[in-house]
């Protein structure tokens, strides 16, 4: 009669076991809910501890919860403190239960309060998520994870990383993971040989991040490791110095292209008519405001065209600035020919009038001009980061220069302009209507300044004072490069830009500009006509 008793005992034990395990599974879910509630505390240090505990729990909802928290989308309901992941919708928030992942309808925003984050908390989450998402099915997520583990050197991610490396098929992601492993190893207590291999791997990677990682190792107790780190650091530094030179040259080109755009219109008007146009900066400003108007119109009537707004703004700016230029010439300047001081004063007065007109129409504050998405961000060339908007401005400046060059060399108008520059009397005797050439040249010069304004609106503030910042630089370039000469303006602009950028690291922005100005003054003493002076017997002085 013992067997039924045994079976009974077994059965009882089994039942007890069953009963014990189910609270465990519900307790597991309850625990996670408690852990998530632990995120809703005042102290940031306590929040960081809560994040670490959640990450260690291994629950399937860890990644969505932590991602939402780092994106500031984790909120709690005010009256019952229940935590939700939110998404903005028309009527307030679209809710997802943080613990279960189920949709929870919509609710007004006022009933919720955000769970605050700060930089340190977001940094911790980023590092943690990196380790957790290494095995994701999505390529982009795995690559991002490898990169953030590389940055953080998180020791806890090593095991997952090794697993991910074995399964990785993509070369690019595999490389990122190997870099990440090297970054982890140099911070761990692996043996000397492993560390040195890791250092050599990082040596090949190079870059500023690697410098940060290797710097503490340069003073390591183990002389072999310290030496390997120091060699790597020195070589990376040398490479950086080289790229530094390249960077200065590229930034100099970028600054030069800005100067070129601003000055090229002035070179033409100054060259053809000898008129010192102090309102030239305001033409640039008007071009920038035309861009603002075009973008405003697009924003209200045709939002889909925003990406093309700059292309639309170019002819608009050219027309408006050119029209104002022709009006200026026909209305005021043509009465003042041969009287340079009066022209200077008159154009200075016009510049003040234009500034105040813009201030009255648009207000004295800066206007926001947006950047289309294809112009935002930066591109990496070796170890130099070039912002895309500046890159496009360099290309644009060269395109404008080329277009002008073709107009001046190949069209009738250009021919007439060149004739008037070289010898006004003779050109007049040949039947060229010098007065009209003057007016149109002024119009073209101002129109080009307007186009420059479109480009400059992307990198500088659009305010009524925009012109003031560029007028002195434009004159510097024109005087340095040679009046009336396109090539002179090009060479002058780029050389001044590069000189400025090479001086800046040593002398600072303010002193650098002063040195460049002093250099130009001394240069003019030797060559009063600038770099590319016009030659010829009949050239007027």
């Amino acid at each position: 009669m013992k067997t039924p008793k045994n079976i009974l005992c077994l059965g009882l034990l089994f039942l007890i076991g069953l009963m014990a395990s189910s609270p465990v599974t519900t307790a597991f879910a309850q625990d996670f809910s408690t852990l998530v509630d632990g995120l809703n505390q005042k102290s940031f240090s306590k929040k960081i501890k809560a994040v670490e505990v959640i990450a260690a729990s291994g629950h399937e909802r860890v990644v969505p919860v932590l991602t939402a928290l780092s994106e500031n989308r984790l909120y709690f309901r005010r009256h019952d403190k229940k935590i939700f992941i939110v998404k903005s919708s028309d009527s307030g928030f679209a809710l997802t239960d943080a613990v279960t992942g189920e949709g929870a309808g919509e609710a007004p925003k006022a009933t919720f309060k955000k769970i605050r984050t700060n930089n340190r908390l977001r940094r911790t989450i980023r590092a943690t998520l990196g380790g957790l998402t290494l095995l994701s099915k999505d390529d982009a997520i795995r690559l991002n994870a490898a990169k953030s583990v590389f940055k953080s050197g998180d020791q806890g991610a090593l095991a997952t990383l090794e697993k991910a490396l074995k399964a990785e098929k993509s070369d690019e992601i595999k490389q990122a993971m190997l870099d990440a492993r090297a970054a982890i190893i140099i911070k761990s207590d692996a043996d000397e040989a492993a560390k040195i291999t890791a250092i050599q791997h990082l040596h090949k990677v190079g870059g500023a991040d690697v410098m940060s990682m290797l710097s503490p190792l340069a003073s390591d107790k183990n002389p072999k490791i310290a030496q390997a780190a120091n060699t790597a650091i020195k070589e990376i530094k040398d490479r950086q110095a080289l790229w530094n030179g390249v960077q200065n040259a590229i930034y100099g080109l970028s600054l030069g292209s800005v100067l070129l755009l601003a000055a090229i219109g002035l070179a033409i008007t100054f060259g053809v008519m000898g008129v010192i146009n102090m309102a030239h900066g305001e033409m640039v400003m008007i071009g920038a405001y035309s861009t603002y108007i075009v973008q405003d119109l697009i924003r209200t009537s045709a939002p889909g065209l925003f990406e093309y707004s700059l292309f639309i703004a170019l002819p608009v700016a050219f027309m408006i600035a050119g029209a104002i230029g022709i009006a200026m010439e026909r209305g005021i300047i043509r009465f003042l020919y041969g009287r340079p001081l009066e022209t200077l004063l008159a154009t200075w007065g016009i510049s003040l009038v234009l500034q105040q007109a813009v201030r009255t129409i648009f207000g004295p504050n800066n206007q926001k001009v947006g950047t289309p998405s294809w112009m935002s961000g930066s591109v990496e060339l070796g170890e130099v980061a070039i912002t895309l908007n500046r890159l496009y401005i360099i290309l644009f400046a060269l395109a404008v220069f080329a277009a002008l060059y073709i107009i001046i060399r190949q069209t009738t108008f250009g021919l007439q302009m060149r004739a008037v520059v070289q010898n006004r009397q003779m050109a007049g005797s040949m039947g060229i209507r010098t007065k009209w050439v003057d007016a149109l040249t002024f119009g073209v010069g101002s129109g080009i300044a307007g186009i420059a304004g479109v480009a400059l609106s992307q990198i500088d503030n659009v305010s009524p004072n925009l012109g003031q910042a560029y007028i002195v630089d434009s004159f510097m370039v024109v005087v340095f490069g040679g009046v009336g000469n396109l090539w002179g303006t090009l060479v002058g602009a780029f050389s001044l830009g590069i000189a400025n950028k090479f001086l800046e690291p040593y002398a600072g922005a303010v002193l650098g500009k002063i040195f460049v100005l002093v250099f130009i003054i001394l240069f003019i003493q030797k060559r009063p006509r600038g770099l590319f002076a016009l030659k010829g017997r009949a050239v007027e002085t």
Binding site: N72, N118, N119, D209, S215, Q240, P364, A509
Partner: protein
């Protein structure tokens, strides 16, 4: 006797009429107390100062609704010094000597304040200065309702050292007296805290500077030496816009190299795309996001007054709120707008601030303020990540500069000195 036109009657009528008109004109002129507003409405600082002019107009209108001051209406006199520092002095003289204002609320940059200081001291006017500044000054005629370095710069640096464990520092500023002096104080403070000189990089740029490529690149390089780096920015005016744009374009995230700014608030962020700037910091004594009933009421009144729901409030506006209310209370206490009597009455005056507490005018002409550190959010508001437990009293003479640590300022009788040296017992230190 044909021309015996009796013009006595019409003449009498004319004279009486003129007299009545003149007396009513005089009477109506005597009915208002003029308040001067000296803020740049154009130029590089217009981005920051225009809203302060609007805030003052609102405060004056609100006070007039309460019945004015001493039974008279307040009249705002607005001038535009156009971000032109010598013009600030001219306009100050115009307000005090010609327009005969009872008090002036104005200025932002320290160079503009230094320009107007001799005018206020000569004509014995009162200036309420609402902006954070570098200290090293305490004038009988100026009331500093903005933060002194110990109410903004030092607590911000402490926060970064404690919370973000920052070991390398970039001090980037616009080239004029405020950033230069603040950076002197901060450098002395950091070195006193054990930071090495090669871990501090100092850099100055002109007003309106727009080409930040090299500088931001250098910041990135400086921050890659293996130690946590932060940027302390005293960049002023619209140069901030291309600076933050360049940071965003180069991908410098706040989690890697945080930037804490002292002159960037809600108003300056309104002209920027703030999504790439999330996490960068600002240190002030007030943010629009402060949760208090007083603040909610203030924001509601402001939005209704300016008729624009998108306009924001910021710290210098709160400073004007405090300064204006202190002036009103002092005038009521003294019973007159005479500058000397108001100056004596205002010390010790306490008014509510917008964070739910109170602010008191100290004998050194500074006030007590809480210190708040906020992180930029995607909507252009600040999330407060730190606030001092209590109020910090403004210290005009920094304890970290050797020449000014022995100086105190006390404008009460009998001391009546802005730069009294406690070691020598004499009035007249320079702090330089």
């Amino acid at each position: 006797m044909m021309n015996e036109f009796n013009f006595k009657k019409p003449l009498l009528g004319l004279v009486t009429g003129a007299a009545i008109m003149a007396s009513t004109a005089l009477a109506t002129a005597q009915e208002t107390i003029k308040v001067g507003i000296l803020h740049s409405l154009s130029g590089t600082m217009a981005i920051s100062e225009t809203t302060l002019k609007d805030a003052m107009l609102m405060l004056i209108a609100e006070q007039n609704k309460k019945g004015g001051l001493l039974g008279k209406k307040l009249e705002a006199v607005v001038v535009d010094p156009a971000s032109n520092w010598p013009l600030f002095a001219e306009k100050a003289r115009e307000l005090l000597a010609q327009k005969k204002v009872a008090a002036v609320f104005g200025n932002w940059t320290s160079v503009s304040r230094k320009s107007v200081l001799p005018v206020f001291e000569e004509l014995n006017g009162l200036l309420f200065y609402p902006v954070q500044y570098e200290g090293e000054e305490s004038s009988k005629n100026v009331f500093y309702t903005g933060a002194a370095p110990n109410q903004q710069a030092i607590p911000a640096v402490d926060y970064l050292m404690r919370e973000e464990k920052v070991k390398r520092w970039v001090l980037a500023g616009t080239d004029y007296v405020y950033p230069r002096t603040t950076n002197k104080i901060l450098e002395a403070y950091l070195i006193a805290k054990g930071v090495k000189k090669e871990d501090i990089m100092i850099n100055y740029t002109p007003f309106g500077h727009s080409d930040w490529q090299t500088i931001v690149s250098n910041i990135k390089k400086f921050g890659s030496a293996g130690k946590k780096t932060a940027v302390v920015s005293t960049i002023n005016g619209d140069a901030n816009v291309p600076f933050y744009k360049e940071l965003a374009n180069k991908g410098i995230k706040a989690e890697d190299i945080p930037v804490v700014a002292f002159s960037v608030g809600e108003e300056e962020l309104a002209g920027l795309d703030t999504k790439p700037l999330v996490g960068h910091l600002a240190a002030w004594n007030y943010f629009q996001s402060v949760e208090s009933p007083v603040n909610a009421k203030f924001i509601k009144t402001w939005k209704a007054f300016i008729k624009n729901d998108k306009r924001v409030t910021n710290d210098p506006m709160e400073a004007h709120f405090i300064g204006f209310n202190m002036w009103v209370k002092a005038v009521q206490k003294a019973g007159t707008t005479d500058p000397d009597k108001v100056g004596a009455a205002i010390i010790g005056v306490s008014v509510p601030n917008l964070s739910g507490g109170h602010s008191t005018m100290l004998p050194n002409h500074h006030i007590t303020k809480p210190v708040l550190i906020g992180e930029v959010q995607a909507d252009g508001q600040f999330e407060i990540v730190f606030s001092t437990a209590g109020l910090v009293a403004g210290d005009a003479w920094s304890d970290y500069l050797p020449k000014s640590k022995d100086l105190i300022s006390d404008w009460r009788a009998p001391l009546s000195c802005g730069n009294f040296n406690v070691k020598t017992g004499k009035c007249g230190g320079t702090g330089k």
